[in-house]
C-alpha cells in the first residue's frame, strides 16, 4: 500500500524520532489515551441512553462495540512507540526475575561462562598483542629484518660487519635506510656509577640512525646526531622510558646532564617513549636500559656484529627489496682492508622478512593452537550451558505451555529464551572481562617469559569487540537449542504431562545425551592435545643440556685488566681462590657467555693442511673460560681442564665439543692432537660433551673453549656450584668481590636453572595454558555427564522404586546407571579419539620427542577421561541405589 511506505528518508527519520520520544513518555501518553478512551465510552453510553436504554444495558452494548479495551490500548501503544524495545524490556525484566529466582542455576551458569569467556578474552589479547597488532613503529609494514636464515652458528651468522653494513647502505636501491644494533651485548654489561653503589645496567650500541629508521620519537630531548657516531665524538646516550622512571624518578632535567657509565661521563641527550621496548621486540624477555651510538670506526675489526633492520622505500615490495639485496650482498666485503674478503656473504644471502614476521612468525603456530584450544573450551561451555538450559526448560514445560496457551507465538517464546541466554552470557562476559583484565595484567608483567610484545598485552578496543562477539555467539549457541525445543512442543500434551511422563522425557534425554557426547568428545580432543604438548614439554625438560643446571648460579663480575692477558689471569686466579674459600662453594669458574644466552662464533677449527670446501665447516661458538668453569657448570670433560699454567706465553690450547671433534678427527680420539683456528696452532687438551648453547630443543653446534689467559673474554660471569641456596652466599661472595674490586656493581645471583627456565618459558607458557584449558574442559564434561545421569535418575525414581520393590538388588540398579554413563562416555571418547588423531597430526610441528600418535598419551588421556566420566556417573548411581521403594512409590 502506498501509504505504508515511507514517503522520504526525512519522514521516516522523523517518525522514528517520534516513536523513540513516545517510548520514553509512556506514562503521560498512557494517561492521555486512558482519558480519551474513557471519553469515547461516555459519549457512546450517553448516545445509547438517549434511545432509552438503561445505563447497564447501554454500557454492555458499548463495551461490545468497543472491543477489548486492553487490546486496543496495546495496539495503540504498538503503533505509537517501539514495540521491539518494549518487548525487550519486558523480556529483560522477566529474565532477571526468573534467573534471580533460580539462583543456584544462575550462579553456576554465569561462573562457567565467565571462565570460558574470560579465557577466550585473555588468549585473544595475547594473540592480538603478538600476532595482530602492528609493531609500535612508524609505517611498520616497511620494516624488514635483514639476515640469512637462522643456522647452526647462532648470532654470528645472522649479523654483518661494520664495513658490510656501510657498503650495503650505499649500494642498495630499495631501502630508505638501514640501521643496526650490536647483537652481542649481554645483560648488565655497563655499570652506572655516581649514584651510591655501582649499578649494573644493560646498554646496547645502535647505529646513529637506528631510531630514525624505526620511526621512534623521543619524549624528551632528541635522538642521536650523525656526528655522534663518529670516532672521538662526545659520548652520549638515550635512556629507555622504564629506566628513566626507575633510576632517575622521571626527572626531565636529566636531559643534557652527564651520567657516569663505566667511569666515563656520558651525556643524556634524550628519553625514549614508553611504547618503545627494545627487549620485547628484538630479544624477548630481556630489558634494555640505555642506548649508545655505535662508533663503527672502532668496530671494523670485530667481525660480524651488527643485526640489521631496514626500512624499504614506499611502494617497494619485500620481493623487490630481496632481489636488490641478492645483487648487493655478494658484492660486500667482510673487511674492506682485505680484498680477498669480497663475497664472503655470497654463500648465505640475506633472507628479508617483514620485521613483524621475524618478531612473531615463529609463534604463529603455537598461538593458533592456543586459540583453537580456547575456542574448544568455549564450545564445551556452550554445550554445557545448553544442557543446563534444557534441564531447566524441562522443569519449565508448563510455564511455556501456559504462555503459548495465552497467545504467545513460537517466535515470542524463543525470543524470551534467547533474551535469557543473552542476559546470562553478558553477565558471564562482564565477569570474564574482569577476569581477563587480571590475567592480562599478570601476563604483561611476566618479564621472565621470553615472548615478544608480551608487555603490550592488554584489554583494548579490539578485545572489547571480540568480547561482545563471543558473548553473542555463545548466547545464540546455547540459547537456540533449548528455545526451539521448549517452544516446539504440543501445548495440550505439555499441559497434561505431569512432568513424569515417559514419551516426552525420553526425547528430551536423547538431545541431552547427544550434547554430553559432543562435550566428552571435545574434552577428549583437548585432553589428548594437552597431553601431547605436556609430554613434549617433559621431554624438553629431560634434554641432556651438557651441563647440570641445578645447584649452580652465576653472577656478573667486573674486573679491570687494562687489556693485559697476564694481569687478567692473575686477577681471576685470585678471585676464584677467594671465592672457593667460602664455605659451601664446591667449585667456581668464569666464562664470558653463559649457555642459552648470548653467543658468538668465529671461524672454525681445522686440521692443518687438510682442505675443506668453503662453507663445509660451520662456524664454531667460542667461549673464554677459566680453569674450574667446566666443573662449576657440571660439564662432562674427557682429557684435562685448563690450568693457570696455560698462560699467554705457554702452548696455545683449546677444548672442543664432541660434535666438532667427531667431525674433525672422524671419530678418533682428539685429545693431544693439533688444530688450527684463526691461523694459530692449538693443542686439543680436552673434549666436552655437547652443550646446548643457543636453545634447548635444537641440536648443538660446534663449540670451542679457550683459556681467558690466551684470548680476551667479552665479559665475565662467575659461576659457582653449591648445595646452598645462592642467596645465602650472595653477601659473602659480594664482599669478597668488593674487597678485590671496589667498583664491583651490586649484581645478583641468577641460578643456572633460571636461565634454562627462561629458555623454555614460551613452551612452558603454552603448555600451562593448554593443560589448564584441558582440565577445565574435563571438569565441564564431568559436570555435563553428572547432570544428565542425575536428571535421568530423578526422572526414573518411580521406575527404580518399582524395580527394587520387585527385587532388583542395589548393585544391579547401580550397574544400570553406570552402564548408561559408560555408554555415553564411550561414544564420546571414540569420536574424540578419532578427532584427536587429526588434531595431533596438525600440531605435530609443535611436539618435541613425541609422535603425534604417541600411544602412551592417547591411552593415558582416554583412561583419565573415562575414569572422570565414571566418577561423574557413580554419584547419581549411588543415589539411585539408595532410593527407598516405599517413598518412591508414595511420591507419585
Amino acid at each position: 500500500m502506498s501509504d505504508q511506505q515511507p514517503n522520504s528518508i526525512t519522514g521516516s527519520i522523523r517518525r522514528g524520532l517520534v516513536r523513540l520520544f513516545s517510548f520514553f513518555r509512556k506514562r503521560p501518553l498512557d494517561d492521555d489515551l486512558n482519558e480519551e478512551m474513557a471519553a469515547h465510552i461516555d459519549f457512546a453510553i450517553e448516545e445509547k441512553m438517549r434511545y432509552g436504554l438503561s445505563y447497564e444495558e447501554a454500557r454492555r452494548q458499548v463495551m461490545i462495540r468497543f472491543g477489548g479495551v486492553m487490546q486496543a490500548k496495546e495496539m495503540q501503544r504498538e503503533s505509537r512507540g517501539l514495540p521491539g524495545l518494549d518487548i525487550l524490556m519486558q523480556d529483560l525484566t522477566y529474565s532477571f526475575r526468573t534467573l534471580w529466582r533460580d539462583k543456584s542455576f544462575t550462579i553456576i551458569a554465569v561462573l562457567i561462562l565467565a571462565l570460558g569467556i574470560g579465557a577466550n578474552i585473555a588468549v585473544f589479547s595475547v594473540v592480538n598483542a603478538i600476532l595482530v597488532r602492528p609493531l609500535p613503529f612508524r609505517d611498520p609494514q616497511q620494516l624488514v629484518w635483514m639476515a640469512p636464515e637462522a643456522s647452526k652458528c647462532g648470532f654470528s651468522c645472522e649479523t654483518y660487519t661494520a664495513d658490510a653494513y656501510d657498503e650495503f647502505r650505499q649500494m642498495n636501491h630499495t631501502f630508505q635506510d638501514v640501521a643496526g644494533y650490536f647483537a652481542f651485548s649481554s645483560s648488565d654489561n655497563v655499570k652506572l656509577t655516581g649514584h651510591g653503589q655501582p649499578k649494573p645496567t644493560t646498554g646496547i650500541m645502535v647505529t646513529g640512525n637506528f631510531f630514525q629508521t624505526l620511526g621512534v620519537e623521543p619524549v624528551a630531548g632528541r635522538l642521536f646526531l650523525p656526528e655522534e657516531a663518529n670516532k672521538g665524538a662526545r659520548p652520549v646516550t638515550l635512556l629507555s622510558n622504564a629506566f628513566w622512571h626507575s633510576q632517575f624518578a622521571a626527572d626531565p632535567t636529566i636531559v643534557g646532564k652527564a651520567i657516569d657509565l663505566d667511569g666515563t661521563p656520558v651525556t643524556v641527550v634524550g628519553i625514549l617513549p614508553k611504547d618503545f621496548d627494545f627487549g620485547s621486540v628484538f630479544s624477548p624477555g630481556s630489558k634494555v636500559d640505555l642506548f649508545t651510538p655505535a662508533v663503527l670506526d672502532d668496530m671494523r675489526q670485530w667481525g660480524n656484529i651488527l643485526a640489521l633492520v631496514g626500512r624499504t622505500r614506499p611502494g617497494v615490495t619485500i620481493a623487490q627489496a630481496q632481489a636488490d639485496s641478492n645483487v648487493v650482498v655478494p658484492q660486500l666485503y667482510f673487511n674492506i682492508k682485505y680484498p680477498q674478503s669480497l663475497g664472503v656473504y655470497k654463500k648465505r644471502l640475506m633472507q628479508l622478512m617483514e620485521l613483524k614476521e621475524y618478531v612473531s612468525g615463529k609463534l604463529r603456530r603455537s598461538l593458533i593452537v592456543l586459540w583453537c584450544a580456547v575456542g574448544t573450551i568455549l564450545l564445551i561451555v556452550c554445550v554445557n550451558l545448553a544442557n543446563l538450559m534444557l534441564a531447566r526448560s524441562a522443569t519449565r514445560t508448563k510455564e511455556f505451555a501456559l504462555r503459548s496457551a495465552l497467545g504467545a507465538g513460537r517466535m515470542r517464546l524463543i525470543r524470551q529464551l534467547l533474551t535469557e541466554s543473552m542476559v546470562l552470557s553478558c553477565t558471564g562476559a562482564l565477569l570474564g572481562l574482569a577476569l581477563s583484565y587480571v590475567v592480562t595484567f599478570f601476563v604483561a608483567h611476566q618479564g621472565s617469559i621470553a615472548l615478544p610484545m608480551l608487555s603490550t598485552v592488554r584489554v583494548d578496543g579490539a578485545t572489547l569487540l571480540w568480547t561482545v562477539a563471543i558473548a553473542v555467539f555463545a548466547a545464540v549457541l546455547f540459547g537456540i537449542a533449548p528455545g526451539l525445543k521448549a517452544s516446539g512442543r504440543n501445548v495440550q500434551e505439555a499441559l497434561k504431562d505431569s512432568g513424569q511422563g515417559l514419551s516426552q522425557g525420553r526425547r528430551h534425554e536423547l538431545t541431552r545425551a547427544l550434547l554430553v557426547i559432543s562435550e566428552v568428545a571435545l574434552a577428549c580432543v583437548l585432553l589428548v592435545g594437552a597431553g601431547l604438548l605436556l609430554r613434549s614439554f617433559l621431554h624438553v625438560l629431560d634434554v641432556d643440556l651438557g651441563f647440570e643446571p641445578s645447584h649452580a648460579a652465576a653472577i656478573k663480575v667486573d674486573y679491570d685488566d687494562g687489556g693485559k692477558d697476564e694481569k687478567r689471569g692473575a686477577i681471576f686466579r685470585e678471585m676464584l681462590n677467594q671465592v672457593n674459600a667460602i664455605p659451601g662453594i664446591e667449585a667456581s669458574g668464569i666464562v664470558d657467555y653463559l649457555p642459552l644466552e648470548r653467543n658468538r662464533s668465529w671461524g672454525s677449527p681445522e686440521i692443518k693442511g687438510k682442505h675443506y670446501e668453503p662453507g663445509e665447516l660451520p662456524g664454531a661458538f667460542v667461549y673464554m673460560i677459566t680453569p674450574g668453569y667446566m666443573k662449576a657448570m657440571g660439564m662432562k670433560l674427557s682429557g684435562r681442564d685448563f690450568t693457570w699454567d696455560d698462560g699467554p706465553k705457554g702452548d696455545k690450547v683449546i677444548i672442543l665439543n664432541e660434535t666438532s671433534a667427531r667431525y674433525l678427527f672422524s671419530g678418533g680420539d682428539a685429545v693431544g692432537r693439533m688444530v688450527v683456528m684463526n691461523d694459530e696452532d692449538r693443542r686439543v687438551i680436552g673434549v666436552i660433551k655437547d652443550v646446548h648453547e643457543s636453545n634447548v630443543e635444537g641440536q648443538p653446534g660446534w663449540q670451542v673453549y679457550f683459556p681467558v689467559m690466551q684470548e680476551r673474554p667479552a665479559g665475565a660471569e662467575l659461576v659457582v656450584r653449591t648445595k646452598l641456596p645462592p642467596d645465602a652466599l650472595a653477601s659473602s661472595v659480594m664482599s669478597k668481590l668488593r674487597e678485590l674490586n671496589p667498583n664491583q656493581p651490586a649484581a645478583e645471583f641468577r641460578t643456572i636453572q633460571q636461565i634454562v627456565d627462561h629458555a623454555v618459558s614460551p613452551r612452558r607458557f603454552f603448555v600451562l595454558l593448554v593443560v589448564s584449558f584441558a582440565a577445565f574442559g574435563v571438569i565441564l564434561a564431568a559436570l555435563g555427564i553428572y547432570g544428565v545421569i542425575s536428571y535421568s535418575v530423578t526422572q526414573r525414581t518411580q521406575e527404580i522404586g518399582i524395580r527394587m520393590a520387585l527385587g532388583a538388588t542395589i548393585s544391579r540398579v547401580q550397574l544400570g546407571v553406570i552402564g548408561r554413563t559408560f555408554r555415553l562416555a564411550l561414544i564420546g571418547i571414540v569420536l574424540g579419539t578419532i578427532a584427536s588423531i587429526l588434531v595431533a597430526r596438525a600440531i605435530a610441528a609443535l611436539l618435541f620427542g613425541t609422535t603425534p600418535t604417541d600411544p602412551m598419551t592417547f591411552a593415558g588421556m582416554v583412561l583419565l577421561l573415562g575414569a572422570v566420566a565414571l566418577l561423574a556417573g557413580y554419584l547419581p548411581a549411588r543415589r539411585a541405589s539408595r532410593i527407598d521403594p516405599m517413598t518412591a512409590l508414595r511420591n507419585s
Binding site: 505504508q4 471519553a39 486496543a72 495496539m75 503503533s79 505509537r80
Partner: protein
C-alpha cells in the same frame, strides 16, 4: 501471512479516517468511529477501539493533528483534524483505491471468453 492481512485492514481504516475528517472537519475518536459506521450502514464490523491505533499512526505521519477541546455536551475530548499533508495523501490514496477497485471489478466480472 497474518501480518499482511492486518496491513491491508490498517490501510483501509487509515483511509476511511482521513476521508471522514476531510468531509466532516474536526472530530473526536468516537465521532469518527460512529461516522464510519453510519456511512457504511454498519456494514463495517469494526471494534471501535482499534481506531486509536490508526489515529496515532496518522498523527505520527503528520497527516492529522490532535488537540484537546470541549464537545457540544461540555465534555473534554481530543479532537482530530486533517492537515494539508493529510489532504494530499488522501487524494493520492483515493485515486489509488479507485483504480484498484475498478481493476478488481473488471477482473472479477471476467467471463470464460476473457472479455469483461
Amino acid at each position: 501471512m497474518a501480518e499482511s492481512k492486518l496491513d491491508l485492514l490498517q490501510g483501509t481504516l487509515d483511509l476511511m479516517v482521513l476521508q471522514t475528517l476531510s468531509a466532516m472537519g474536526s472530530l473526536h475518536g468516537y465521532g469518527i468511529a460512529r461516522r464510519i459506521e453510519q456511512v457504511s450502514d454498519d456494514a463495517v464490523l469494526l471494534n471501535q477501539g482499534t481506531i486509536y491505533a490508526a489515529l496515532v499512526r496518522l498523527q505520527h505521519r503528520g497527516w492529522i493533528s490532535a488537540a484537546w477541546g470541549i464537545s457540544d455536551n461540555n465534555r473534554r475530548a481530543k479532537f482530530y483534524s486533517i492537515t494539508r499533508a493529510g489532504r494530499k495523501q488522501l487524494a493520492k490514496d483515493a485515486a489509488y483505491w479507485q483504480r484498484l477497485s475498478d481493476l478488481m471489478g473488471r477482473v472479477l466480472t471476467m467471463d470464460s471468453e476473457g472479455s469483461a
